[in-house]
């Protein structure tokens, strides 16, 4: 290699690890850049200075929105209002306006619930699990992914609440309050666990997201040009100054929140899967569900992250911060979790045969070759075949292709939930009660409208809040490293 000579010349001062962790001894300042082969790929391209990062990210929500923002917002807002209108129609008329009925009493509503809650999981995975694993590339995408989590949980929460029909009764069966007979909710039911899991998930995601936002809100406060902005950003940034005594507690709190969110994210979709797995229905009653649901959730969540981030980085010219390398790494997560999902599909079939239960085997044969065969094979095409295209680096680094494949992942994961829910219950033990579920127009447009809610919230988020974690992106640049020449380290310093 051409750089070999320069590299070996620059690698003279070796480790500075000794004593760096005891607070009594001041750390040695080593002034040489790491040898070229040990230099990580840059997380911000073109060696952008710190001020450029501030200007570029804060600029997105400080400048007027580009022309496309308004039509996109109006369309999303219209979709959201359509959904609320249809929910009002449902509540006023009854659940009969949807296509579900015995034997398929759970259909699009619960499919949509699991679909949306699964999408949320990528945000928490990126912010929490990748934080614990010291994956520094997460900093470019964690803020928007966490926002996506919150908005997806908001969409998810609507469906199980309204599918009960009489939502005004929710006060009695969601929080633990005794009913008119003084009977308490019973905690042996996974449905009640789910209430606690999803509401904890929503709350903790909000806390985590807000904690991350505080230093960036201070940036917006300090750059604000009008009084209202300064007051609002100032209020929500709590008077943050960037004091190191504060950073010290803040970093610890952030790490602990990551440590709390990691078991949380794994538990939430496990508990969602208990809604099915704890029942006796063939096709649902399997122990593979918790890990299989968690892998599927991360798979679908990364699909949605890519669906949102790829247009965002292009439209706001953030290519130096959300680089092709970031896109490629996300594709690898999709490849890994997609392979787990594919494995789970195969293992389910194997166990259905190997377990020796004729009902279980029938449920699976019916899934693939019964009346819903089209849903099953759509799922297989999208979830099992499409992620394996990411073995190719050419495809992983082509953002247009990645965006298209991520779309297939989103579609496939919706079909997965539909397949699991509807094909398992539309034919139960008694052939005389078999049925075939067809959605009504209310089903379809309520689901379409939930995308309106999701996109409305996301577009408002881009408009008013920094969509990328400014302080975290800065912290992973060499300019932020006091031991790197770009961070000001000098020869013979100290």
């Amino acid at each position: 290699m051409a750089n070999a000579a320069a590299m070996s010349a620059g690698s003279a001062p070796s480790s500075n690890t000794g004593g760096a962790h005891s607070h009594a001894a001041p750390p040695k300042i080593v002034a040489a850049a790491p040898p070229r082969e040990l230099e990580r790929y840059p997380l911000v391209l073109n060696n952008r200075p710190l001020n450029w990062i501030t200007e570029r990210i804060a600029g997105v929500c400080e400048k007027p929105m580009p022309v496309w923002w308004w039509p996109a917002f109006i369309a999303s807002f219209g979709g959201m209002m359509m959904m609320f209108g249809l929910v009002a129609y449902l509540i006023a008329t009854g659940v009969g306006v949807w296509g579900l009925n015995q034997p398929a009493a759970w259909a699009w509503d619960i499919t949509n619930f699991v679909f949306w809650i699964g999408i949320g999981h990528a945000g928490t995975l990126i912010s929490a699990v990748l934080c614990l694993l010291r994956q520094k590339w997460r900093t470019a995408i964690n803020r928007a992914a966490e926002a996506m989590t919150l908005f997806a949980v908001a969409c998810a929460g609507i469906f199980p609440v309204v599918h009960t029909g009489r939502v005004w009764m929710a006060l009695w069966w969601l929080p633990p309050i005794p009913n008119n007979m003084a009977i308490w909710p019973q905690f042996r039911s996974p449905l009640l666990w789910d209430v606690f899991a999803v509401s904890t998930y929503g709350t903790v995601s909000l806390l985590f997201w807000y904690t991350g936002l505080v230093p960036d809100l201070a940036t917006l406060r300090d750059r604000a040009t009008c009084k209202i902005k300064r007051l609002l950003y100032g209020f929500f940034s709590l008077g943050w100054t960037g004091s190191n005594r504060n950073w010290s507690n803040y970093e610890k709190a952030y790490l602990i929140l990551a440590g709390l969110s990691t078991p949380l994210v794994l538990s939430v979709h496990s508990i969602v899967s208990f809604d099915f797995a704890v029942s006796q229905v063939p096709g649902w009653h399997t122990t593979i569900f918790p890990p299989y649901f968690v892998a599927g959730a991360i798979f679908s969540g990364f699909g949605m992250v890519l669906t949102l981030m790829i247009p965002m980085r292009t439209l706001f010219h953030l290519e130096d911060i959300i680089t092709v390398k970031h896109v490629e790494l996300m594709c690898k997560v999709i490849l890994a979790t997609g392979s787990m999902v594919g494995y789970a599909y195969g293992m389910e079939f194997f166990i259905a045969w190997y377990g020796g239960s004729p009902y279980e085997l029938y449920a699976f044969k019916n899934r693939a070759f019964g009346p819903y065969w089209w849903a099953y094979w759509s799922m297989i095409t999208c979830n099992v075949i499409s992620p394996h295209l990411f073995w190719s680096k050419t495809i992983r680094t082509n953002v247009v292709l990645v965006w298209i494949i991520a779309g297939f992942v989103n579609v496939g994961m919706w079909f997965e939930r539909f397949v699991i829910i509807v094909t398992s219950i539309h034919r139960d033990y008694l052939p005389s009660s078999w049925g075939y579920f067809t959605p009504t127009w209310v089903d379809v447009f309520t689901f379409v409208g939930s995308f309106g809610l999701f996109m409305t919230l996301f577009l408002l988020f881009i408009r008013y809040l920094p969509a990328i974690a400014i302080s975290e992106v800065k912290a992973v640049t060499p300019q932020a490293d006091p031991h790197h020449p770009l961070g000001g380290a000098k020869e013979h310093h100290h």
Binding site: L50, T211, K474, G488, H493
Partner: protein, 180 residues
């Protein structure tokens, strides 16, 4: 009333790079100051050690929150399903920690997270919407790309001249008196 009296409350020194800031922090700490702090747009690796800070105490608040969450979950379920209105459902026991676990686990995390956030806010004395540093125009860039050391006048070692000369020696690019 109208002419608000201002008085100097400390000295603020500006630096251009994290390495200069780290170096300055070592000097200020070694000079024996106690009422001082450094300010940066992002946390700087090694700064806690350079300032002589101890490990953050946030974890105690998390632990208190988590323990409270777990046991209040267990107690709530025991009270509702076993004590106050026992109903046998599906022949299952009225209370065991097993079926009570998922909800208690979620409450552990929920209250642990609240403990973490409120503990961090308490330790950092936030929210604190007024700060004399906000009167300094150049301090606005602390959330952008500038680095600062602030030594408060209440520090026993503080003196307008010697503190200033210490900060000058550490390579500050600007030194300003902060007034309140």
């Amino acid at each position: 009333m109208s002419a608000t009296q201002t008085r100097p409350v400390g000295l603020l020194a500006q630096y251009e790079t994290p390495a200069d800031l780290l170096h300055a922090a070592l000097e200020v700490r070694d000079a024996g100051y106690r009422q001082w702090d450094v300010y940066s747009p992002f946390p700087i690796h090694g700064m806690d050690a350079a300032m002589g800070l101890k490990n953050s105490k946030v974890g105690y608040f998390t632990f208190a929150g988590g323990i409270t969450g777990f046991f209040s979950g267990m107690l709530m379920i025991w009270f509702m399903n076993k004590f106050d209105y026992p109903i046998v459902v599906g022949g299952k026991p009225l209370f065991t920690p097993l079926f009570a676990f998922p909800v208690s686990y979620e409450l552990t995390i929920l209250l642990g997270a609240f403990g973490t956030l409120f503990g961090m806010a308490f330790l950092n004395r936030l929210p604190k919407l007024y700060n004399p540093l906000f009167n300094v125009e150049r301090f606005r860039r602390v959330t952008d790309d500038k680095f600062f050391v602030y030594i408060e006048a209440i520090d026993p070692k503080y003196s307008a001249e010697s503190t200033r000369s210490l900060l000058e020696k550490t390579g500050a690019t600007a030194i300003e008196v902060v007034e309140d």
